[in-house]
Amino acid sequence: MNPTTTALRAGWSRGLIELRQSFTNGAELWSHFFWPVLMLVVTFFLRDVTFGQSGISLGTLALPSILGMNASMAMVTMSQQLTADREDGTLLRAKATPNGMLGYLTGKIVSVSGGLVADLAILLIPGVFLVSGLAFGPGSWLTLIWVLALGMVATLPVGAVLGSVFTSARSQGLLTLPILGVIAISGIFYPITSLPGWLQGVGQVFPIYWLGLGTRSALLPGSAAGVEIGESWRHLETVGVLSAWAVAGLLLAPIVLRRMARRESGSTVAGRRERALQRVG
């Protein structure tokens, strides 16, 4: 077997092991369920509030939007895990193993996307029963699959880039605020058309809006497009923007990752550990 196939295979099993671990320990199990449950509560309370003249309930609009938002949050997961693995030496271990970096990244993609699919199911399955007004057809699933798949390709490499840039779990915290800001202007909990024009413009730069739009187009009746910009699901634009993020991420990620990996050595890991301990002490 050639080395690349070996590493891809090892990465695949690595991803499955990590996925299993994330569903068999208390803290992570909690995080898998906490947000979906919270979101379901939110949509449940929004079920009777309708948006403007459209007659569509905010809960109905929000559920698919939240699915899209969660998909784009895989970017944050990727980034956080990369930083954590760099801090504890997992990445250096991969570097010391032949083709270990390829295996490591394959494993990360498998575990992060696997975890995401599980999280989406945890949200969507009860959501279907709690929220009325969703439209399911064979087309819904097809749209959902391509939107999510493209969304992953758009966001995971960017997450890897962010994870390489931030060197400690503490500096990762800096990401939280801007991300909350972007969520607020991405039309997840309230249609983007109610925002001023320039903010709509800013929101449309980021993949969160487009993922939300894509998942809404999959799960809502055609008439719901009335509350969107241009009263359309704009599939072409969705593909365009998400592909642009994907291309940028895929071009940038290998360069940034390689540069980051090259700098890893025993003493850099030990140094970071010492700094982290000093902060605690």
């Binding site: 077997m1 295979r9 090892a10 092991i17 030496g89 250096l92 270990g100 050595s265």
Partner: protein, 302 residues
């Protein structure tokens, strides 16, 4: 020992500079196939820097280095598969189980198996070899310090490396764990003909484990040889004590045998309680390190 003439490690004039500080000033040494080499020196001597350059984890500023016939700055994955690396501190993969992780990391080596060396090491055999059989299904973060270190070594040798780097392998070990670890290193060198480069600041350990000791101090190799050679080569000062007529005397000399001969010629049987203390390797080491420290302080004062 199964040392052959094949040179596995060849380092010549290795220099490392961070900003304006020189950490290594022209480190030169060689290791032959099957040899166990100890890089001995106080903290901050440049041991870890040297080993990281040879592992291919750090770029050198100048000098030549060949590890298994390849420049470590340009080593490919095939080269990487022939090396084993055990660093000072690991705390990765805490959620993994011992057997699970060794099987996972071993799988990368399967395609680098040769007729002579079957890679990777069988997981259960390896676990037994490092004495972790009872803990094979434990989560790694539940291991004690000594167990964790043995796991690190197991990971380092899972690909049956031809050359193994051990950076401060026994820091924090209790005496029993240290003894077991030394047995393991001997076994690797004897039965598997692994060439080993280890760093330590513990002289007794270097003496026990290594065929040859390199003393590194302030970025320079100040001595290179077997433990016996080092003690002899660096003219140590012996201490001669005796009593004569109820009075005790002490004399320091580099020529203790001739001195004692002269003493008896002069005073004959009136000499009593004669003791000759040969300078030990430890004295040699301490005086070398001390000399370098004084030298450093003088440089800094200037």
């Amino acid at each position: 020992m199964t040392t052959s003439e094949k040179v596995v490690l060849d380092v010549d004039g290795l220099r490392m500079r961070y900003g304006t500080t020189d950490v290594l000033h022209g480190v030169t040494f060689q290791a032959r196939h099957g040899e166990v080499l100890a890089l001995l020196g106080p903290n901050g001597a440049g041991k870890t820097t040297t080993i990281e350059i040879l592992e291919g984890f750090r770029m050198r500023s100048a000098g030549r280095a060949e590890v298994l016939g390849t420049d470590p700055a340009h080593g490919d994955e095939r080269w990487r598969a022939r090396l084993g690396v055990v660093l000072q501190s690991w705390r990765d993969h805490g959620k993994w189980r011992v057997r699970e992780l060794l099987a996972q990391l071993g799988s990368y080596y399967a395609c680098y198996s040769t007729d002579l060396i079957k890679r990777p090491w069988d997981t259960d055999e390896l676990i037994a070899a490092v004495g972790l059989t009872e803990h094979a299904d434990k989560k790694i973060r539940m291991l004690s310090g000594g167990q964790r270190r043995r796991l690190d070594v197991a990971i380092g040798i899972v690909g049956r490396p031809e050359l193994l780097f051990l950076d401060e392998p026994t820091t924090g070990f209790d005496p029993a764990a240290r003894h077991e670890f030394h047995e393991l290193v001997h076994k690797l060198a004897r039965e598997h003909e692994t060439t080993i480069l280890l760093t330590t600041h513990d002289l007794a350990e270097a003496e026990k484990l290594a065929d040859r000791i390199l003393i590194l101090n302030s970025g320079r190799i100040v001595a290179d040889g077997t433990a016996d050679e080092l003690a002899q080569r660096i003219a140590g000062v012996d201490e001669v004590r005796w009593t004569r007529g109820g009075q005790s005397f002490t004399e320091s000399t580099t020529e203790s045998t001739a001195f004692v001969f002269g003493l008896f010629n002069r005073y004959g049987e009136t000499i009593a309680d004669l003791e000759v203390h040969r300078s030990s390797l430890e004295d040699t080491y301490l005086s070398l390190v001390h000399r370098a420290l004084v030298h450093q302080a003088e440089e800094a004062a200037r």
